[in-house]
Every structure is written in structure tokens, then in C-alpha cells.
């Protein structure tokens, strides 16, 4: 069964007097467990697509079915609940809360979801161990290296055991070595069955994915799954 089904998605922005079609007539299916790279030049609609997939934005037209359920018609509160349980975000600039420690940042989605403190503690300890952050639990983000910060962010994205991880240029702010570490980490998660969608400018990173999407002017220009040959 397809995890994601987009059909006829339109997303328009009003810039002054002119309407910009960020996405137009987009149809896309992503199966559960797939590893998808979204590429394309700036302004091609990659980020808009990612925001739509993450339920941070709503399309002007078209339907989005996540795990067989139409999520475009949900209320904002219901969408927040779906984000909380089913979707994890990894950002280019990590987006850690500076006043919280690594452990608290990882626990944040569970706190927002109202999970009991004892269970939170247990799961955070497990996550810290899994991501090699045991010794950094009480460090604030500004005391961590870039690679460590992104590992904290990935731990945070996975702590609610989502079905889908959306990564926006996850290696964009990292050097090649730590970037590779982070990519391996994400790919390991994908190996465990989590659907992974990565937006990137980096052709090398894009080439690692099982499926490549290339966008241009709000439309899919190339999809390796349906590519001839």
C-alpha cells in the first residue's frame, strides 16, 4: 500500500500582484519504506512539497492521503496530532531549542504529546545510547559539534517512532565527513522500515537514494521510478 498518495496538488502563493504556482498538477505516490531524494533548483517547489507532506502547509487544490487517510480535510488540531505521531522532521540548521539540553530536546516531541515522564526518560536514554550521545545528554546545543547537533535532531525526529521522516538538506550545514555519518544514520533508519524523504542539492547524496525525483517550476520533471529504461 502506498504511504503517500498525492493527486492534482496545486499550491499557489501571492507575491504582490502576481500569483506564483509553487506546485501545479502534482501527482505522486510513495510506498512505505521507500528512500526518496527530491532534487531540483531553488524555487522549483521542493520545500513547498516537503511542507505539504509534513502537514505544515495546505494545498489550494488536490488531495493528500497519508496511510490511506485524506489528511487535507483534517482540522489543524488533528493535523498536529498526525505530525506528532507519524512524521519526523530533520532540518538543515538542526532547529534545536538552545535553552534545553540534548536530552530535553530529544524528549520535546514526547512532552508535547503528553507522554508520561518515566516513559520519556526511558526512551530518551535508549535514543541517546543508539545515537552515541550518552556523554552529551546534559549538554546544551551550543556545547555540541554540528554532527552531534544533527544527531540530536535525528534522535528527536525518531523518538515518536514515525512512519515518515522528512529531511530538508540534512547535511547542508555539515562538513563531508560528519555529513556522511548523518546520511548513514538516516539510511540505517530507512533500513528499519521508516520511509525517508530527503530534499537536497547534493547530487552525490541524491544518487544514494532508491528513488530520485527532480522538480522544476512546481512540477515533477523526472521520477526514476517511472523513468524509461
Amino acid at each position: 500500500m502506498a504511504l503517500i498518495e498525492l493527486s492534482g496538488i496545486e499550491r499557489r502563493f501571492l507575491l504582490g500582484d502576481t500569483t506564483v504556482n509553487a506546485l501545479s498538477g502534482l501527482d505522486l505516490q510513495v510506498d512505505a519504506g521507500q528512500y526518496v531524494a527530491v532534487m531540483g533548483p531553488s524555487g522549483s517547489g521542493k520545500s513547498t512539497l516537503l511542507n505539504l507532506l509534513g502537514l505544515l502547509d495546505r494545498p489550494n487544490a488536490g488531495s493528500y492521503r497519508l496511510e490511506g487517510r485524506d489528511v487535507t480535510t483534517l482540522s489543524p488540531e488533528e493535523q498536529a496530532a498526525v505530525r506528532s505521531r507519524r512524521i519526523g522532521f530533520v532540518f538543515q540548521s538542526f532547529h534545536l531549542v538552545p535553552r534545553l539540553t540534548a536530552a530535553e530536546n530529544i524528549a520535546l516531541p514526547m512532552m508535547l504529546a503528553g507522554i508520561a515522564p518515566t516513559e520519556r526518560k526511558q526512551r530518551v536514554a535508549q535514543a541517546l545510547a543508539d545515537f552515541g550521545l550518552d556523554k552529551r545528554a546534559d549538554h546544551k546545543p551550543d556545547q555540541l559539534s554540528g554532527g552531534q547537533r544533527q544527531r540530536v535532531a535525528i534522535a528527536r525526529a525518531t523518538i515518536m517512532q514515525p512512519a515518515l521522516i522528512l529531511a530538508d538538506e540534512p547535511t547542508g550545514n555539515l562538513d563531508r565527513h560528519t555529513g556522511d555519518e548523518v546520511v548513514h544514520l538516516l539510511e540505517a533508519l530507512n533500513g528499519n522500515g521508516v520511509t525517508l524523504i530527503v530534499v537536497t542539492h547534493d547530487p552525490a547524496l541524491g544518487a544514494r537514494a532508491g528513488r530520485q525525483l527532480v522538480m522544476e517550476d512546481g512540477q515533477l520533471k523526472h521520477d526514476s521510478a517511472h523513468a524509461p529504461g
Partner: protein, 402 residues
């Protein structure tokens, strides 16, 4: 989000911006402290005046010569324009009234008192034996005025504690002769120190028999007649009976004024209560200002933390969760500010009481409760707008601000 988590999150968020937090807490605490101190002052003034009046004596009815206010046209006034004297006999006649327990006539003047080469000015009160119990005065040494015919004044005097100390020093005063005006009087008693008593400092008072005082000051009229009613309930009866009797004695002319302590007290109580309320109102304005400041601070917080709000939304926080977190933070700022202000205000009132021991500057409990709850209410009220603004932020735009 669990309530405990919301509170902890708000606390950490507030602690994350110490200057901003300290400023809004300070503003709120100054507002609450102003309410506490100003109402303590106002209520202290009320209590002070009420206390002074109560120290006059209990169940007191006071007769003054002359008519205060206009009582309509009275043909008697057209013939005799000068008010009739309020005499010692008038006072003595009041003793026969059924509702009256004690009566003390009072004649007042200033004179000089001298002994052993020391001389000073003193206030002289001419009265009778019952003056001391009516005014709740107590003797430190010696005896009260002799219980004699009111028109026959013995040459004796009771002096205040400060006078005794200034004129006799450590020597015994009772039994000594002093010169008061042109009379030589024997000191028969010394009052216990009491302090100020409504314009009459009893520690510097000389009490002599009433007829002696009238002779000294060459006057036939009394300054006041102090009448003590049998009980609190008997006060109105004592008032009307006194008025009626004196009117009769003055040939039907109502040329005296009778006031009750209660009426005076109630007037002052009301007056100063209103003053306290007014002052509290002024202080409440500073609370409102503090509330607006909390709102500004929270609005700045929303702008400052736009990226964080976007992140929280991406991590699955509902609008409700974010609204509650910001509201909790505003409530916390104003709550801590209110508590701090309460302590500050109590400290200020305490300092006032230390500086002016006679002045009972205690904040009334209604003002404390009103001040604290107004602070919390304004904090919450002015926290709603920023909280709603935070909850309404578009997550995509908010995330780009990070």
C-alpha cells in the same frame, strides 16, 4: 502536553531570557507593592484617627457651647444673640439623667507652671474627679482630684508624666507645691505617660478642679461637658436627654451642640476609608501599567521565539498547547511579580511602622487580596493576546525565522 510539563516549559522559557523576565517581574512587583504600601498608609491613617477618638473614652457624648449649624428661625435668637454660658451647674444637672453614668465638665486654658526656679508653659484642664475614668487616664502616683462640690475648687493639681520629669527630675513630685499662673497648688497625683491624645498632649497636662480653672482664666463658660452614657445602647438617649435638659435650663433656647463619639468616629471612618479606596485606585493604575508591560514583554517573546514556535508546531504541538505555554509564562511572570510585590509592600509597611511607631500602617486584607488578584488577572488578560498570536503563527513562515 501535561500541565506540569507546560509549567516547566514556561518556567524554562522565562528563565531563558533573564533580563526580559526580571523587568516584567519588577514592573508587576512595583505595582503590587504600591497597592500594599499606599493602602497601608491610608488604612493606617484611618486606624490612627479612629484609635485617637476611641482613646477619648467609651460611650462618650460631648456637649459644646454654642449652636453649630442653623436650626431654623428661633425667635429667642432675635432677642439674645450671644449664646448662654455652659456652666458648671449645667454639667452637674446632667448627672441626674437616667441614661448617664458619669459627667465631667471641662475648662481649658494655657498657663505657666513653676517650681524651684523652673518654669514652663502648660495646658491646664479644669475638671472633676470623674474626668480621669471618663478619659481612661490612669495615675502613676498619688490620688485623683477630690470628690468635692464642683463649685469649690481645692488648690490641688495632677500633672502629666513629662511635666513631672521636666520640673521635678528625679525628685518626688507628689506633695510638692507648684505655682500655676498666680496660684500655688499642691501636686496630688502624676498621670501615667500616654502620649498624644487628639491635640491634647496628656503628658504635658495640668489637671486642676474645674472652678479653680474658671477662676484662673476668668471665665464662666465651660469648654466641654463630657458625658459618659450607661452603655453603648444608651448613647442616643443620653444625647437627646442632655440636649433636652440643657434647652430647658437655657429657657428653651437650643444653644448647645451635642455630638456623640460614634457619629464623629463613623464620619472619619467613612472619610478615611474612601481615601484609602481612592489611593488603592491610583495604585491599581500602576498594576494596569504593569499588565500592559507584561503584554509587551510577551509580544516581544513571541517575535523572539517565532522559530521555536514553528519548531514546536512541526514537532506536533497543537495551537492549544502553544497558547497554554505562553499563557502559563505570562501568569508566571505576573504571579511571581505579585508575590514579590506583596513581600516588598509588607516590608515597606513594616519600615513605615518602624519609622512612625504611633502610625498603624498595616495593609488591609481586602487590598492585599484585591492587589494580588488584579495582578494575576491583568497578567493573564494581557497574556491572552500574545498567546493567541503565538498559536496562530504559520509554521512554515515561523520555521524560516529560525
Amino acid at each position: 502536553m501535561r500541565p506540569a510539563d507546560t509549567l516547566r516549559f514556561a518556567r524554562d522559557a522565562a528563565a531563558g531570557y533573564p533580563v526580559r523576565t526580571a523587568l516584567s517581574v519588577l514592573a508587576m512587583s512595583i505595582g503590587v507593592a504600591a497597592v500594599v504600601i499606599l493602602t497601608a498608609l491610608g488604612d493606617g491613617a484611618r486606624r490612627y484617627v479612629v484609635g485617637q477618638f476611641s482613646s477619648l473614652g467609651t460611650n462618650l457624648v460631648i456637649v459644646l457651647p454654642g449652636r453649630s449649624g442653623t436650626g431654623g428661625f428661633n425667635p429667642a435668637n432675635t432677642i439674645t444673640s450671644t449664646p448662654r454660658d455652659l456652666t458648671i451647674d449645667d454639667a452637674a444637672s446632667l448627672r441626674r439623667l437616667p441614661s448617664v453614668r458619669r459627667v465631667a465638665p471641662l475648662a481649658v486654658g494655657t498657663s505657666e507652671i513653676a517650681h524651684g526656679g523652673k518654669l514652663r508653659e502648660a495646658m491646664v484642664a479644669g475638671s472633676t474627679a470623674e474626668f480621669l475614668p471618663i478619659r481612661n487616664f490612669e495615675l502613676a502616683q498619688g490620688n485623683a482630684l477630690p470628690d468635692e462640690d464642683w463649685n469649690r475648687g481645692s488648690s490641688v493639681a495632677i500633672i502629666g508624666a513629662k511635666l513631672r520629669q521636666e520640673i521635678f527630675g528625679t525628685d518626688p513630685a507628689v506633695g510638692q507645691l507648684v505655682r500655676v499662673g498666680d496660684r500655688r497648688l499642691r501636686v496630688i497625683g502624676v498621670l501615667k505617660p500616654l502620649g498624644q491624645g487628639l491635640g491634647m498632649n496628656t503628658d504635658e497636662l495640668v489637671i486642676v478642679p474645674v472652678s479653680l480653672a474658671q477662676a484662673m482664666f476668668n471665665s464662666n463658660t465651660l469648654f466641654r461637658i463630657l458625658v459618659e452614657a450607661n452603655s453603648r445602647e444608651a448613647i442616643p438617649a443620653a444625647r437627646t436627654q442632655s440636649l433636652e435638659l440643657l434647652k430647658q435650663r437655657h429657657r428653651g433656647e437650643e444653644d448647645v451642640t451635642v455630638i456623640t463619639q460614634d457619629a464623629v468616629l463613623a464620619t472619619f471612618d467613612k472619610l478615611l476609608g474612601a481615601l484609602t479606596l481612592g489611593v488603592a485606585g491610583i495604585a491599581a493604575i500602576s498594576l494596569a501599567v504593569a499588565g500592559i508591560l507584561v503584554m509587551n514583554v510577551m509580544l516581544v517573546a513571541v517575535t523572539q521565539r517565532t522559530g521555536e514556535i514553528g519548531l514546536l508546531k512541526a514537532l506536533g504541538a497543537s495551537a492549544e498547547t502553544i497558547r497554554l505555554a505562553f499563557l502559563a509564562e505570562a501568569a508566571m511572570l505576573s504571579g511571581i511579580g505579585a508575590l514579590l510585590g506583596y513581600l516588598l509592600g509588607q516590608l515597606g509597611a513594616f519600615a513605615l511602622r518602624l519609622a512612625f511607631p504611633v502610625f498603624p500602617a498595616y495593609p488591609p486584607s481586602w487590598a492585599v487580596i484585591a492587589g494580588l488578584s488584579t495582578a494575576l488577572a491583568t497578567g493573564l488578560l494581557f497574556g491572552v493576546m500574545p498567546a493567541r498570536q503565538a498559536a496562530r503563527l504559520d509554521p512554515v513562515l515561523a520555521l524560516m525565522k529560525h
